[in-house]
């Protein structure tokens, strides 16, 4: 549910708070639910809390999907592609 926005951690204070940058807008975010996050990580933020470190976009996964669709298109339309 709800708004979860990706942002980049630019600094971390000692009490589990991080300054997170969202495309030029900064807010303080709690790392209580995601204490393993580090400076430079992208995190998914909801109501001022980091919920999870975001994996770098899995371009391999997306390419795989792309190829899979193209393959099935070729299978279903013999002579095409």
């Amino acid at each position: 549910m709800c708004l979860g926005i990706p942002g980049k951690i630019v600094s971390i204070t000692t009490n589990g708070l991080a300054a997170v940058d969202f495309d030029g807008i900064k807010r303080e975010v709690s790392l209580m639910l995601c204490p393993e996050a580090e400076i430079g990580d992208y995190v998914l933020v909801h109501v001022g809390f980091a919920l999870r470190r975001l994996e770098p976009e899995d371009a391999q996964e997306t390419l795989r999907l792309f190829r899979e669709i193209e393959e099935s298109y070729r299978e279903e339309t013999p002579g095409a592609g």
Binding site: C2, L3, I5, D23, I25, K26, R27, H46, V47
Partner: protein, 336 residues
């Protein structure tokens, strides 16, 4: 001035009132009619058409990146006139001051109004001040009126858009409302967004000089772009189609909208215009705008159409579409 803060005595009409006008208002706003200190400004009347408008300014905080209540008051009034194609002849400004307002703040506001007036080429020719008890208002309210002259042959109005007209926006949307929101500090967001507050009358003159015809002009203040498009669609009995990909919005403004769950199409702007111009003139007008400092970011965002009169359709970046409704109520930040 010896006193640092406005007191009720400043509004009583006696010596302190007189001193306030002489020592603070006149040095900044001192047009010839104001200097005369008569009850009315007298302005020579020509034949032709006058544009006339009024506005009230209650913004909080009084000062924000890119402007303040004074700049807003001058630009907002000038822009209302400019949307009729008019060049401003004179403004009035009535000030309601809270007892306890810092005189230094009032001075800052007046200096800002003087500067904005210079940019627009207009002066405040009539004024008034009242003082209310501490707590009755917060700081300062300004009510304005403005008159302007519409050049001969210019007829611009919300009902004049025709199917086929091109829709041009003069720059990125939402800067003003987001700048003020950030300045209020309510949601502990930090960002360097400046209000777009600016007088648009000279940009409009440039547009008219480039190609004599503009059908409709609106500045998307409260209610934003979506509300303006809807109002034009209604008044002119046309449909409107806009392209999501073409609508300019700064990254930081989008980021705040994402964080708060706001829709950028409903945000207020104070230095942008949306123009509805004949299809054939669009390219010329767009190029002329892009040469002007206040139109550098101008973009063609859509057109008026015969279909679905009164309705606004957004073509999404995905290639689909959805309707754009006018703003309903107030946007509250949301978490879901």
């Amino acid at each position: 001035m010896k006193e640092r803060r406005i007191s009720l005595a400043h509004g009583a009409g006696g010596k302190l009132s007189h001193d306030l006008v002489q020592e603070l208002f006149l040095p900044y706003l001192g047009s010839a009619p104001l200097q005369a200190l008569d009850d009315s400004a007298v302005i020579p009347f020509e034949t032709g058409q006058l544009a006339f408008t009024t506005d009230a300014y209650v913004v909080k905080p009084l000062f924000f990146p890119g402007g303040d209540i004074g700049r807003l008051a001058v630009c907002g009034t000038v822009n209302d006139l400019a949307m009729a194609g008019a060049q401003p002849l004179g403004l009035s400004a009535a000030f309601i001051l809270e007892e306890g307002l810092l005189i230094a703040d009032l001075e800052r506001v007046l200096a800002s109004m003087q500067a904005a007036g210079k940019e627009a080429g207009v002066q405040v020719v009539a004024g008034d001040t009242k003082v209310v008890e501490h707590g009755a208002i917060e700081g300062l309210f300004i009510t304005t009126a403005g008159i302007g002259k519409i050049p001969a042959g210019v007829a611009i109005g919300s009902a004049r858009t025709l199917p086929g007209d091109a829709i041009i926006v003069s720059g990125p949307l939402g800067d003003h409302e987001i700048a003020v929101l950030l300045a209020r500090g309510e949601f502990s967001l930090q960002g360097a967004v400046k209000s777009d507050c600016a007088p648009l009358n000279k940009l409009v003159a440039t547009m008219l000089a480039a190609s004599g015809t503009i059908h409709s002009l609106r500045d998307p203040t409260r209610g934003g772009m979506a509300t303006v498009l809807w109002e034009i669609a209604h008044a002119s009995g046309v449909g409107v189609v806009v392209e999501e990909e073409e609508i300019p919005i700064r990254g930081e403004v989008r980021a705040v909208c994402n964080l708060l769950g706001f829709d950028p199409y409903y945000l207020a702007n104070e230095g942008r215009l949306i123009a509805f111009v004949p299809e054939g003139a669009a390219k010329t007008i767009l190029q002329a705008m892009q040469q002007h400092p206040l139109g550098k970011g101008a973009k063609l965002i859509g057109r008026a159409v015969v279909d679905h009169p009164g309705k606004v359709l957004l073509h999404t970046t995905l290639g689909g579409h959805r309707m754009l409704e006018p703003l309903s109520g107030v946007q509250f930040p949301r978490i879901c």
